[in-house]
C-alpha cells in the first residue's frame, strides 16, 4: 500500500536534448512529494520514468527496495493519474474504476464492491453508472484518482492533476487530495508548476530546473531559505538588490549587511515583499516615493522608488489597514533574518 522510492543518478536524453541530468532523490513511504518547476524542467520526464513509460538513459529507480528501472508500467507497484485523466469514455465510472481489477482477473462482484468503495472515497458514490462525459472537470479528476487508487498502488504518480481545473476548484481539490492521501497512506508524487499548489499540499517540495534538482525541503524552508536564486524566485515574488562584498559586509544602497565571501565579489541580496515593513531594521530603503498602491484584501501591494537608488523599484506588502496612497514618501525596513544572499556567477 505504500513504499519508499529511491532515484539514483538518473539521466535521460531525448536525442540531443538532456531532459534529466544526474537526478538523485529519496522519498519516504507515505510521503507527499511535489515536483515543482517551469515547463521543460524535466519534472514530467522524471514522473514518466517512475511510472515506467520512459526507460532512462542512465541511473536506476528502486521502489520498495526492488529495482524497477526496466520493469513495464503494468508490473510496477505504481499507478499514474494522467493530466487529461484518460478516463475511458465508453465505460461507466464503475467500470473505469474497476478496470485495473478486471485486468487482474478479479470477479465482477469484488470489482464492483471495490469500485463502489473508491467512488465513495472521492465523493461520487451515487454516480456509479454515469459516463465520464456527464461529469464536470473536478469530478473527472476524482474518478481518475479513484481508478488509480483502486488497484492499491504503493506509489501514486500525479501528472499536473489539477492543471485543467479553474483556480477556485483547484484550491478546493488540493485539500481533498491531501486528505485522501492521509487516509490511504500511499506515497504520492505530484508534478506541478504552481508553487502555491505545491506549498499547500506537499510534505516536501522538489524544485527542478533544466533537468536538475535545484532545491528540496519542506515548503517553509524552501520559501524562507531557498538554496538557489532560481528556487527563491520560483517560490514567490522577490526583491533583488545587487551588492558588492567588502570587509565582510555586503554594501547595498540600503545599508551594509554582514556577509561571507571573496572580497570584491558581487552578490544579489534578496528580500520578500512581505518582509519589508515600517518597523526599523538594519536594511532600510530610506525615504522612498510610492509609485503605485493596490489593495489585495489580505495586504496592500506597493511599488516604491527609494531616493537612495533612483530607478530601482522595490515591491512591498503592507498590512491591509495601512493608510498610504500614491506619491506618499515612506521608509521601509527588513530584519536580517529575512534577508538572503546569493553570489552572482561572473
Amino acid at each position: 500500500m505504500t513504499a519508499t522510492v529511491s532515484i539514483n543518478a538518473l539521466s535521460h536524453w531525448f536525442g540531443d536534448f538532456q531532459a534529466l541530468s544526474d537526478v538523485s532523490l529519496n522519498i519516504d513511504a507515505g510521503e507527499y512529494v511535489t515536483l515543482l518547476g517551469p515547463s521543460g524542467c524535466g519534472k514530467t520526464t522524471l514522473l514518466s520514468v517512475l511510472g515506467g513509460f520512459i526507460a532512462p538513459t542512465r541511473g536506476d529507480v528502486i521502489i520498495g527496495g526492488r529495482d524497477m528501472t526496466r520493469v513495464p508500467p503494468a508490473q510496477r507497484p505504481t499507478t499514474t493519474m494522467f493530466q487529461d485523466y484518460a478516463l475511458f469514455p465508453h465505460m461507466s465510472l464503475r467500470d473505469n474504476v474497476g478496470f485495473g481489477l478486471r485486468m487482474a482477473g478479479r470477479k465482477r462482484k469484488e470489482r464492483h464492491r471495490r469500485a463502489g468503495e473508491m467512488l465513495e472515497l472521492v465523493g461520487l458514490g451515487d454516480a456509479q453508472t454515469a459516463r465520464p462525459h456527464e461529469l464536470s472537470g473536478g469530478q473527472r479528476q476524482r474518478v481518475a484518482l479513484a481508478r488509480a487508487l483502486a488497484v492499491r498502488p504503493d506509489v501514486l504518480l500525479l501528472d499536473e492533476p489539477l492543471g485543467a481545473l479553474d483556480l477556485k476548484l483547484r484550491r478546493a481539490m488540493q485539500d481533498e487530495l491531501k486528505d485522501i492521501q492521509r487516509q490511504v497512506g500511499t506515497t504520492f508524487v505530484h508534478v506541478t508548476h504552481d508553487q502555491e499548489e505545491a506549498m499547500a499540499i506537499a510534505d516536501r517540495i522538489v524544485v527542478m530546473n533544466a533537468g536538475r534538482i535545484e532545491d528540496e525541503g519542506t515548503p517553509a524552508r524552501i520559501y524562507r531559505a531557498p538554496a538557489s536564486l532560481f528556487s527563491a524566485d520560483f517560490m514567490g515574488e522577490m526583491n533583488h538588490i545587487p551588492a558588492r562584498l567588502s570587509g565582510g559586509q555586503a554594501l547595498t544602497p540600503f545599508g551594509d549587511i554582514p556577509a561571507d565571501g571573496p572580497e570584491g565579489s558581487r552578490v544579489v541580496v534578496c528580500v520578500r515583499p512581505e518582509a519589508l515593513s515600517t518597523t526599523d531594521g538594519p536594511l532600510s530603503t530610506g525615504p522612498s516615493i510610492l509609485r503605485d498602491v493596490a489593495f489585495f484584501g489580505t495586504h496592500i501591494r506597493v511599488h516604491l522608488e527609494p531616493e537612495a537608488a533612483p530607478g530601482r523599484i522595490l515591491t512591498a506588502h503592507l498590512p491591509p489597514d495601512t493608510k498610504v496612497s500614491q506619491g506618499d514618501t515612506l521608509s521601509l525596513s527588513a530584519d536580517l533574518a529575512a534577508v538572503i544572499m546569493f553570489p552572482v556567477e561572473e
Binding site: A74, Q83, D84, Y85, A86, F88, H90, F99, M103, A148
Partner: protein
Amino acid sequence: MSRSAEQRRGWGFVAPALLWTLAFFVLPFAVMGAMSLATLEGRTLVWGLSLANYAELAEKAYLWRAIMVSLEITVTVTVVSVVLAYPLAWIIAFRVPARWQRLALLLAILPFWTSYVVRSYAWLLVLAREGVVNQTLMTLGLISEPVTLANTRFATVTGFVHFFVMLLTLTIYANLIQLSPNYRRAAMDLGASAFQTFRHVILPLTLPGIVTGAFLTFVLCIGDYVTPQILGGNTELTVPQVIMVQLGRRADFPLASALAIVLMAIVTVVYLLSARWLKLDRL
C-alpha cells in the same frame, strides 16, 4: 444590417450551389424514381405508377441473383478489408516512428488515387492466365498449369479489397492517432496486456471510425460497375452490371431505374442499421 437583409444576402451566397444540386442531383433523382414506375411497351415509354419493374425483380431469377451476388461480394469485401486494414493502420500509427508516419501513410494509400479502370486493368495483369502470379508460380514449380484467377469472383473481390484496404487504413489511422496516447498508457498502467488494451479500450473507442469506413466501403463497393466488369468478367453479374446491360442493349430505362432505386434502398437500410455508430461529419 437587418435580419431579413442579412438572410437575403446569405441565400444569395448559397443559391448557386443549392440550385446546382437541385437541378442536377435532386431533380434527376426524382425523375429516376418516376421512371422506375414507368413501363416500356415495345420501344415506347409509358409513364405511370406501375410496380411492374419491381415485380420483375422478384420474378426474374437473374435480377434476384444479381442482387444476391452484389450483396455477397460487398459484404465479403467490407469484412475482409476491415480485417486487413486495421492492423495496417495500427502498425503505422503505433509502430512506425512518428517522423516516418506521414510518409508511410502516404505510400500506403497512394495507389488509392488511381482510377477504377486503370487499377482493375492492373490487377488483370497480375491475375491473368499469362499474368504475373501464374508465371511466378510456374517458374517456382509450384504449379504446372496456369490457375484461373481472372474472370472470377475472387478477382473481383481482390480488386475491391485492394482499393478499400487503402481507404480503411486512412480512416482507421485517422481515428487511432486522434486518441490520447494516455488511454493506452492508463490501460497498461492498470495491468492490461497489449491484447486487453486493444480489446477493452482501443477497439471500442475506434468503433465509430470502423463503422464509418465500413459504411463508405459498402456504398462505394455495391455501386461500382468497373471492377466486377473488368475482373469478374461475365461469369456472374452484379446489380451495376445488370443496370448497364439494361441501358446498353435494351435501353430499358425503367428497369435500370428500378434497380438503381433498389441499390439506394439497400444502402439506406445499411445506413439505418449502422447509424448509431456512424460519424459521417467526422470524415
